[in-house]
């Protein structure tokens, strides 16, 4: 199975997509319920993934604060995952970041709230 993005005679379809089909296949196969993948499905999945990368990048850039800075940052992506319905499925792997000090402060506040006997229904998930 050709791994390289450059087109070879056997796997000419790789000129249609840049992502290596072999790697895409490995990821697809890691899904337990999947038994067989036809070659067309593999090519389309690879192509769709490229389109996805483009879309995620441009969407995040347009909606992000980086426009003035001429940069795309992690937080642009995390914001996209948090705020866009389409990209919701990424929310767990692209969590928003907060400063560790802020997180510790939140923990402390929660602890105090619990001790006061308040209804500590603070279920914010903060990840640093």
């Amino acid at each position: 199975m050709a791994d390289v993005a450059v087109g070879k005679d056997k796997c000419g379809e790789q000129r249609l997509v840049s992502l290596p089909l072999s790697r895409i296949r490995v990821i697809m196969k890691s899904s337990p319920e999947v038994s067989s993948i036809n070659q067309e499905a593999l090519v389309l999945t690879a192509k769709a993934t490229e389109l996805f990368v483009q879309y995620l990048a441009t969407y995040s850039y347009r909606h992000g604060s980086g426009r003035e800075k001429k940069a795309l940052t992690y937080s642009d992506l995390a914001n996209t995952a948090a705020e866009s319905d389409t990209f919701q499925f990424l929310a767990d792997i692209l969590p928003k970041k907060i400063l560790a000090s802020k997180y510790l402060k939140m923990l402390k506040e929660k602890k105090e709230a619990d001790e006061d006997g308040d209804d500590g229904s603070d279920d914010d998930e903060a990840e640093s």
Binding site: A5, S35, T49
Partner: protein, 147 residues
Amino acid sequence: MAERPEDLNLPNAVITRIIKEALPDGVNISKEARSAISRAASVFVLYATSCANNFAMKGKRKTLNASDVLSAMEEMEFQRFITPLKEALEAYRREQKGKKEASEQKKKDKDKKTDSEEQDRSRDEDNEEDEERLEEEEQNEEEDVDN
């Protein structure tokens, strides 16, 4: 998710290139952003595969096919991908057809050669290669069941 036997990540260089080509010139992409997009892409593949597989199962099929993937895009609300994907599929099918015809033509040409002993021998070797290549292409059409 199943256990990870090897690298479930996509190559950095290719991901970076796709991002750069999508964004306006001169925009910087932080390493973190790049790595995040790469992870997102892997998750996308998993999500799309799972979704496509549901369609295959609905159709009582064990093999994922092109239409399953297209249906998955619809389901995942990436309708914007459907037209470019259909175009890519057409182009792929044309290419496959072209390759098949080319190798069939090669076989015909070889048969026309004069039969000196030497050429007979080289023809046999070439035919074996062609057969192997065709066999591999046929195998590539459908994935082996690994279970």
